[in-house]
Symmetry: C2
Subunit: 238 residues, 2 copies
């Protein structure tokens, strides 16, 4: 298949590396595409069998919109960390489009193509979120792509996806930020336990903002559950 990659950072680059042995891969990224064959403009990713949108979160819907107008039969699969905006966009996208939301549950706090690895997704869950523009063959093609990189395709709704991500990404990020602030004046003594517990506080600010503010209702719900659990633990101290 010919597969285009829009955004060739950690995730896009890792997808390109994982797919390039079996597919014809081209990538578009103004910041560079490492040793993945570049195209000069986003539009040049088309025509293709699939285009994977792996831009920063804020650019995902605009990129999908730019591609949707002339995607032909190409599967458009985004791999951003939140899915409701993608599902909302798909609802009003051209009827001929094929759009599936995706989210690999893999990553590091490193960024960019330099940190990309072909095995980043191996054995990891990879959420697939159907949209109003996902027919059976689109979901099947997305599932096949995910399986071919060694990940485990896991179908969820956008609402359930964003709830899970609030618990597994937004909540621990908020907690790490609060822990880091609480321990700031004694952090020179911190050992590996505290450092691991606060590692997510090093999340790039724009991603942190997206995971927290971009999913604020679900993050607030997760924080409420977390506070109740913490209250129970504090009661045990008495």
């Amino acid at each position: 298949m010919r597969i285009g990659i829009a955004g060739c950072g950690l995730i896009g680059g890792s997808l390109a590396l994982a797919l390039r042995d079996d597919h014809d891969i081209v990538a578009y990224d103004p910041a560079g595409t490492g040793d993945i064959r570049p195209v000069p403009r986003l539009d040049d990713l088309l025509p293709a069998d699939a285009v994977i949108v792996a831009t920063p979160l804020a650019q995902i819907v605009p990129t999908l919109a730019a591609l949707a107008a002339r995607s032909g039969g190409a599967l458009l699969l985004d791999v951003g960390s939140l899915k409701r905006d993608v599902v909302a966009f798909a609802r009003s996208a051209p009827a001929s489009c094929s759009i599936v939301g995706g989210h690999p549950m893999a990553g590091t706090t490193e960024r960019g193509y330099g940190a990309a690895r072909a095995d980043l997704f191996r054995g990891r869950p990879f959420f697939l979120v159907p949209t109003d523009r996902s027919d059976g063959s689109a979901m099947a093609a997305a599932g096949e792509l995910v399986r071919s990189i060694g990940a485990v395709p896991t179908v969820v709704s956008a609402v359930e996806h964003d709830r899970i991500v609030a618990i597994l990404s937004g909540l621990p990020l908020a907690v790490a930020l609060a822990l880091a602030r609480t321990g700031a004046d004694v952090s020179e003594f911190a050992g590996p336990g505290f450092r691991d517990a606060t590692r997510l506080a090093a999340t790039p600010p724009e991603l942190a903002s997206a995971l927290l503010k971009g999913n604020s209702a679900e993050v607030r719900a997760a924080l409420a559950r977390f506070r109740a659990a913490l209250d129970d633990i504090e009661k045990d101290l008495e």
Copy 2:
């Protein structure tokens, strides 16, 4: 110097490995002492220039008490995670005793001599807490021992020590336990970020209980500061 090690697990074993090239080391541990020369009874650690007490936290004061009665000129240095009980014990210990509280800020969630490493303390802070039985030569000898294993001797009061440990160990442990409970129903999807953030939830229960219940006033104060920081972060979501 002849140095006795009471308790030859991760910390005691690592101290023995770090010290044995330059000193005559014997260890007492009913659970075994790995390849450190054993003695059959605690009392057989004496006479010595120093005895390091590296038992589980609950046994530290009883072990110090057993040794203090006949310690001669030996420096007694404990390496437990909390210091107020040691300072309180020292106050009523025989006047001839030499007792310094110690706490290396190093460790892993692994346990036992099998996880011990000579370089565990290298570059790490090692708190030294003076007691009513710490004269200048006792503090100097403790500082020298700490420097000889590559750690950084850092003198603090017992109160300040237990406050720091509440923030750097008790608080992140309580938070990890609460995060793990909150995410229990979606943990199958957890990536490295969530796993690192909850790693301390695997702390052995008796150590967890000591760090939380054994230091409950300071842990509660740390929890109050953490909640305030988390509230600020949540306000930013709006």
